[in-house]
């Protein structure tokens, strides 16, 4: 099992420029835990507290917002595409 997690530009200062990674989790929670474990500081950017995402970041599995599926418990399967979409303000 592997899902592709896309790291958006505003978070790449934490990943040394890495733009995506393959994760092995079976739900969104475990996949994001893998991302946070690998990149120091990611935890604070994504989570308000354990189990609760910041309200300025959304997670989409294959373009669907996890808030309207099973949130962090949303299951993921081989080949799924997970996008981290932070609020951006430039313009």
């Amino acid at each position: 099992m592997a899902v592709k997690v896309r790291i958006p530009t505003p978070l790449r200062s934490l990943t040394n420029g890495v733009d995506s990674l393959d994760a092995l989790g079976t739900d969104v929670q475990s996949v994001l835990a893998e991302v946070c474990q690998r990149f120091e500081g990611m935890d604070k950017r994504l989570f308000k507290q354990p189990g609760e995402l910041n309200r300025f970041v959304n997670i989409y599995v294959n373009n669907e917002d996890i808030r309207f599926m099973d949130n962090l418990s949303t299951p993921v399967k081989d080949g799924d595409d997970i996008s981290i979409v932070p609020a951006i303000a430039g313009g």
Partner: protein
């Protein structure tokens, strides 16, 4: 349905619209849609990177009335992407709104442009929005976007969100009561200084053009009465990574527990949320109070700011000198940021200038 008209028939039908015939040949617009565009009134909040592309495109498309509001002046580093401005505007020290008005007058004299040099805030936005058919987002900060969002909900006027950084962009059409609003998607903004800004992380011209052109296309659909053609998605892309996505956001209208469109708490429009400014008399400085949910991470902010200055910090505050402009137009400022998000901008007595500097370099 009538047979489609040829270009020359369209010109004869209404000579005053002749210049738009390539646009009217596109049947969903036609002469009726073009007349609707001509009779449209749009408020453009912000006239920087996104705003200049929007103003340029919409003026050429024949949107009848544009009110352009911006608080800033033009700098040399704007010309890489702010398509309505040139070196002469910098030499003339023109405010962005005024320079845009002059350019548009030369591009399409039939468009009525009102230039307003001001900071858009909760005290003036309703008056600026009155009588408009659409509010367009050309801003560079979340506070103003949430203010536009509240105004849209209160007045029923639709708005189009657009934002970009580096090679990445987002866009969404918001029709209050019909689609999700911006706070259905992002309930809060990131704490000040958390996210990089275009002034700390950079932005490429094509990114701006794609976001603003997407916004302009949605504006043309909406104002010409082609409601069914509007995008129900959040458009998201990263052109460097070659990724273009249509995020399915429509469900948020029913399912998000939105403080603004569901519970009617218009916290930005009421002035409850959002920064306030105080001019510090005799100090040539302005204090900006920006409520922050969490303590500012100085190390992180310093890393962002190292692209534009030499920040230093201890556990109480961060300081960073900022130099803007060249030669005779050079101006020096100093940002002092406290851990609760409050900041003092030295080098100006003007609240709008201070807010612009805060939005550009700290991010709000």
């Amino acid at each position: 349905m009538a047979l489609s008209q040829t270009a020359s028939e369209l010109e004869k039908a209404d000579p005053s619209l002749a210049r738009y015939n390539r646009q009217m040949l596109w049947e969903p617009i036609g002469i009726d849609g073009q007349r609707k565009l001509r009779d449209s009134r749009v408020l453009m909040v912000g006239c920087g990177a996104l705003g200049t592309v929007l103003a340029n495109t919409l003026a050429r498309a024949g949107i009848g009335h544009l009110t352009i509001v911006d608080r800033d002046f033009i700098e040399l580093n704007n010309l890489q992407r702010q398509v309505l401005f040139d070196e002469q505007d910098i030499a003339d020290q023109l405010p962005k709104a005024e320079a845009a008005k002059r350019k548009i007058a030369a591009i399409n004299s039939a468009v009525h442009v009102e230039a307003v040099v001001a900071d858009v805030n909760h005290t003036n936005i309703e008056q600026l929005a009155a009588g408009k058919h659409l509010l367009l987002d050309g801003t560079d900060n979340f506070e103003t976007r949430f203010l536009i969002n509240d105004t849209s909900i209160k007045t029923g006027i639709p708005w189009i969100y657009g934002a970009c950084i580096s090679a990445m962009g987002l866009g969404m059409v918001i029709r209050p009561g019909i689609t999700p609003c911006l706070r259905c998607i992002f309930e809060t903004s990131p704490p000040p200084g958390m996210n990089p800004t275009c002034d700390t992380a950079g932005v490429l011209g094509p990114t701006v053009n794609v976001v603003a052109s997407w916004q302009a296309m949605e504006a043309i659909k909406l104002l010409s009465g082609n409601i069914a053609a509007l995008s129900p998605f959040m458009f998201s892309f990263d052109m460097w990574d070659n990724r273009y996505q249509q995020l399915r956001v429509a469900k948020a209208r029913e399912l998000a527990d939105c403080p603004a469109c569901k519970h009617g708490e218009l916290e930005y429009l009421s002035g409850k949320f959002g920064g306030s400014t105080t001019t510090l008399c005799g100090r040539n400085a302005v204090q900006i109070s920006q409520p922050s949910g969490s303590r500012i991470d100085f190390e992180h902010v310093a890393k962002n700011l190292s692209a534009v200055g030499k920040p230093s910090f201890n556990k109480f505050m961060l300081k960073c000198p900022i130099v803007q402009g060249q030669g005779d137009n050079q101006k020096e400022y100093e940002i002092t940021l406290f851990s609760d998000g409050r900041a003092i901008i030295k080098g100006t007595n003007d609240a709008a200038t201070a807010k612009a500097i805060y939005a550009k370099y700290v991010g709000s």
